[in-house]
């Protein structure tokens, strides 16, 4: 089986499991960089999906074709947000941190599930 032919569902399943933390951080460290990049695929799909993350509407980021300037550009995420829980809090309910934000509270308002937010964070960390 070639890598390209590998079913997307399998990749998604792996990412989901990792993201949900079912197997703990141990597995994540076992994964090779290539696999980690693959695990960002579902997060990327969610981030770009207009019905889900729709991040491109407001943020300029790699993979988007027209620049958006409502929110800050999403790049160097690992460096800017070394603490994963900070990034989670921003996506979950940024209004709690910054009452004036225009960022939708993706977790609080049930736009994304916990798992989906974690998948998006996996993807954001590749930027």
């Amino acid at each position: 089986m070639t890598r390209a032919a590998k079913p997307a569902t399998a990749r998604r399943a792996v990412a989901s499991l990792v993201a949900a933390g079912l197997l703990g951080a141990g597995v994540a460290t076992l994964l090779s960089p290539a696999l980690r990049a693959q695990s960002a695929a579902p997060g990327q799909a969610l981030a770009f999906d207009r019905a889900k993350g729709n991040c491109l509407a407001c943020h300029t980021m790699k993979g988007g074709d027209v620049p958006s300037t409502v929110g800050p550009e999403l790049s160097d995420m690992k460096m800017r947000f070394p603490d994963r829980s900070t990034l989670y809090a921003i996506i979950d309910d940024e209004e709690k941190r910054n009452p004036e934000t225009v960022m939708p509270p993706f977790g609080k308002n049930l736009i994304l599930t916990r798992q989906e937010i974690n998948e998006i964070i996996d993807f954001l960390y590749t930027l």
Binding site: A10, A13, V14, S16, L17, V18, L22, L23, V27, L30, L31, S32, L35, P99, E100, K108, N109, L110
Partner: protein
């Protein structure tokens, strides 16, 4: 086989197993009357949102999908959707209550 491949396989097996179990459990658990109770709770919450003039479209969509699933006798799915609708309706009620005061902070002064 490389260790990472083994882990991938293992993860898949675990996931498939867990999903099957969860699916069976929810399908068994949800009966028509349980769905109806959940649907009623969701509708009541949505009426509160309506009284506050702050309904959300995803709540309406979930209610509609729940009714459709129930009509097809898929009470497991219908139950999940009704619960989601209720959670959404409650979030919209909470939003309206919070904003009743918070909007003042956004006024240009």
């Amino acid at each position: 086989m490389k260790p990472e491949k083994i882990m991938v396989r293992l993860a898949l097996v675990l996931l498939v197993g867990a999903t099957a179990l969860a699916g069976a459990a929810s399908a068994q658990a949800a009966t028509q009357s349980e769905f109806e109770a959940a649907y009623r709770a969701a509708t009541e919450a949505e009426q509160k949102a309506s009284a506050l003039r702050n309904q959300w479209t995803p709540t309406e969509a979930a209610l509609e999908a729940a009714a459709k699933a129930a009509a097809a006798k898929d009470y497991g799915t219908a139950m999940d959707l009704a619960r989601r609708a209720e959670a959404l309706a409650e979030a919209s009620v909470e939003q309206a209550k919070e904003q009743d005061k918070l909007w003042q902070n956004a006024v240009l002064k």
